[in-house]
């Protein structure tokens, strides 16, 4: 990464390698976060507005999950998807699907936890008004989500940040596979950085690191803009 004004910079890697790694990273993390959001929002609504026995326990589990070590998640998912495990017949081990599973497990507590705070912050009278207008439960839920959209966007972002930047679990369940022609299969940005650093190719590792940071920044900026534009 020379800073000279030389137009031709010898990159120590192939661009196909880099683009396919980025693609795997985005595919796995975006899928995991999308699924996680679909799962987390109803849970957050339920935990946020319902009183039920064991609510404290559920809240404690969610809070613990927010800081759960990703390596342990990887280990548990590996046991689940390994051929010896309960999901062994599905042949998921060392595939992007297994990576999505482990990132789903990592992102869900974060998205749920932050979403609970967001939806419970929606004022009582907004919900009352929605009910008063004859809204069904779903309508009310949608109103609440609309009111709490910034909080929820923050939650999704936090989950995405957790998913795309973790290395421990995807390394274990994905196996860091790239094909001989340099096309990544289960190699994402974090595991690629780990591998390049192991091989002493620090330029490539730094380059990949910069891409990772840029992605996280871009997503943050995008959501900030969308949020800002949606404000009336």
């Amino acid at each position: 990464m020379g800073l000279e004004a030389v137009p031709v910079v010898e990159l120590p890697f192939e661009s196909n390698y880099i683009t396919s790694i980025v693609r795997v990273s985005l595919y796995v993390s975006l899928t995991a976060v999308a699924l996680s959001t679909l799962f987390s929002l109803p849970v957050a609504m339920f935990v946020g507005f319902k009183r039920f026995p064991g609510k404290e326990l559920v809240t404690a589990v969610i809070n613990t999950g927010m800081g759960f070590p990703s390596v342990v998640v990887g280990l548990v998912v590996l046991f689940a998807v390994s051929n010896q495990g309960p999901l062994g017949s599905l042949d998921l081990v060392f595939t992007p699907k297994a990576m999505i599973m482990s990132q789903f497990v990592l992102a869900t507590p974060v998205i749920t936890g932050v979403s609970i705070a967001a939806v419970t912050g929606v004022e009582e009278n907004v919900r009352d008004a929605a009910y008063a207008m004859g809204g069904t439960r779903l309508d009310v839920a949608l109103v609440v989500i609309k009111e709490a959209k910034f909080g929820i966007a923050t939650a999704v972002l936090a989950g995405f940040g957790r998913a795309i930047s973790e290395v421990g679990s995807v390394l274990i369940v994905g196996g860091n596979i790239a094909y001989a022609d340099g096309t990544a299969y289960t190699r994402n940005l974090t595991t690629a950085i780990q591998l390049e650093a192991r091989q002493g190719r620090f330029e490539t590792a730094m380059f990949l690191g910069a891409i990772l940071v840029a992605i996280v920044l871009a997503v943050n900026w995008l959501v900030g803009r969308l949020g800002g534009g949606g404000r009336r």
Partner: protein, 323 residues
């Protein structure tokens, strides 16, 4: 997306090529009829997957990319290589999560076969281990022809020594040398990284420590680290204890029904064929040959198929043993 890639491969069709274990016939991966399913048991191997668990040394030197590209060209099947180190690679295979293993610790391979998880082991290639350290060489082991004496000197001087400590092939070899030298390593000077060869070399370089490395990984990282070879292995006429032979084994389909045994045998067959051996022989880094093929020999070398010192049980009906 990878899934499209797989569909594309399936569409291209790979010709019915499985079931030719060990016979690297005149197969081409292009053309073919695309369905190949008319012989019942999944005739076409396109779209099938071969998972290989291997050591960090074959991966980090770049050899694997070369070999796997040649295999893919021949069989139309990409190899999913996972580099873990010998111990972990065999453990993954024990769980039935890989189809074929390429490792370098005969004692561990033997155990793997004894337990019934691995079959059809073949000698594949060899390179050697070298003892590397800082140029100042505080323990004064340079150019020693005796690896044991060198290890003893390092232990006596308590010079920093970085060990893989990860149950890999290199770690197994290192422990064997300590044992032969009659030294129980331990103390402030003996550090275990628990990581791959590359990481361990980086750490040894940072700390000015000695370590045992396979020659291939050392050469591939020579530029980035400040370590020199102090004791040569047998490739350069050093002591035999530093030899580093690699074996390749298939996971036993009788134990794990799900493994892709036919493809694993195709892979072993290709690697041990004249073509595959040629790829290994021709692979150079910095103008140096890293691995020396070992599979082709007029002598059948029966010992490669079974654990060392193996005796068939008496009373076992072994049809060919009518001596």
């Amino acid at each position: 997306m990878t899934i499209q890639r797989r569909e594309l491969l399936a569409m291209m069709g790979g010709g019915a090529a499985a079931g030719l274990a060990g016979c690297t016939g005149l197969l081409s991966s292009v053309g073919g009829n695309g369905d190949g399913s008319d012989n019942g048991s999944g005739g076409s191997i396109a779209g099938e997957e071969l998972v290989l668990t291997t050591t960090t040394s074959t991966y980090d030197t770049g050899l694997l990319d070369e070999v796997n590209a040649a295999f893919e060209e021949r069989f139309g099947t990409p190899v999913q290589a996972i580099s873990q180190g010998t111990g972990e690679a065999l453990e993954t295979a024990r769980n039935g999560d890989s189809d074929v293993v390429m490792v370098h610790a005969r004692s561990q391979e033997d155990e793997f076969m004894q337990e019934g998880y691995g079959i059809n082991r073949r000698d594949l290639m060899f390179n050697d281990f070298v003892i590397v350290g800082p140029e100042e060489d505080p323990a004064g082991i340079e150019d020693s022809a005796d690896a044991l004496a060198a290890f003893r000197a390092i232990a006596e001087r308590e010079s920093l020594f970085v060990s893989r400590g990860d149950n890999s092939g290199t770690h197994t070899a290192e422990r064997r040398i300590w044992e032969a030298a009659g030294v129980e390593p331990g103390g402030e000077w003996y550090l275990e990284t628990g990581q791959g060869m590359g990481d361990t070399l980086n750490q040894a370089s940072q700390q000015g420590a000695y370590t045992l490395a396979d020659r291939g990984t050392f050469i591939s990282q020579r530029e980035e680290i400040e370590l020199v070879i102090l004791v040569q292995g047998p490739v350069e006429g050093g002591p035999k204890i530093l030899a580093n032979p690699y074996g390749v084994l298939a996971v036993n389909p009788a134990v794990h029904e799900n493994v892709n045994y036919q493809l694993a045998m195709s892979y072993i067959g290709f690697l041990t064929s004249p073509d595959g051996q040629q790829v290994i022989e021709n692979y150079e880094l910095d103008g140096e040959q890293l691995f020396f093929p070992q599979a082709l020999s007029k002598d059948p070398n029966f010992g490669q198929y079974v654990p060392e010192g193996w005796q068939s049980d008496d009373g076992q009906a072994n049809g060919t043993n009518g001596a």
